[in-house]
Point group: C2
Chain length 102, copies 2
DNA sequence: ATTATATTTGACAGCAAATGACAAGCCATA
DNA sequence: TATGGCTTGTCATTTGCTGTCAAATATAAT
């Protein structure tokens, strides 16, 4: 049986899956975000990263709860910092503690 | 009694405390890192961020285990991304999971 | 107070990275 | 071979870092 900890997709993979499940074209999503089709294509493939504002628009367009999408987007950004870092896990744990101390 | 979860200092605060405890001058640390005194001053006060390479040099100079300093430095960087974000905690948790899946 | 030394501040030049647009290319499928 | 959707490379522009410098401010000692 499969281990049920799904949704380990990157931000790009996530929005691509959502878009396709809705039968939307890149062109349509691009128009909604007011950017070029090429750019949304790159974002979906992880070649570029989305702006915070674009994440909100995407959430609306793709009908996913904004926070859920934001978590994935933030996680990608954190990943970019800590991956390759041996101290990654400890840094995350420490940050968690710092954050819950408010 | 005090809750013993100390060391919640930022990277800057940490290296300043270490430097002062060793009686070193900004000028001396700056020389070791081959940067201007003004810059290390700014790093200590959190106005600028250190480069990865500088963290290593600082660890050596201040005689702190490199990983310990690196964790604080990374945590500061993560903080910069997630603070102000309501989804911060969830993003950290998710990233943790992604990282341990290697 | 005057001097000497340490630190801070703000402005700046130089460089690197991110952003988004465009045009040309590829890949299906009709 | 045309058409529509997506991808790729290149480019101009903007944005953001990095470190330096000079001037300002503090700190201390004489």
């Amino acid at each position: 049986m499969t281990s049920h900890s799904m949704s380990d997709k990157t931000f790009g993979e996530t929005i691509r899956a959502l878009r396709e499940s809705k039968g939307l074209l890149l062109r349509q999503v691009a128009a909604a975000l007011e950017i070029d089709t090429a750019l949304i294509s790159k974002i979906e493939r992880g070649e570029r990263t989305a702006q915070r504002e674009q994440v909100s628009k995407l959430a609306a367009m793709l009908e996913i709860e904004e926070e859920r999408l934001m978590v994935i987007w933030l996680s990608d950004k954190i990943m970019n910092i800590v991956e390759e870092e041996p101290a990654a896990y400890k840094a995350l744990k420490k940050t968690e503690k710092r954050i819950t101390k408010n």
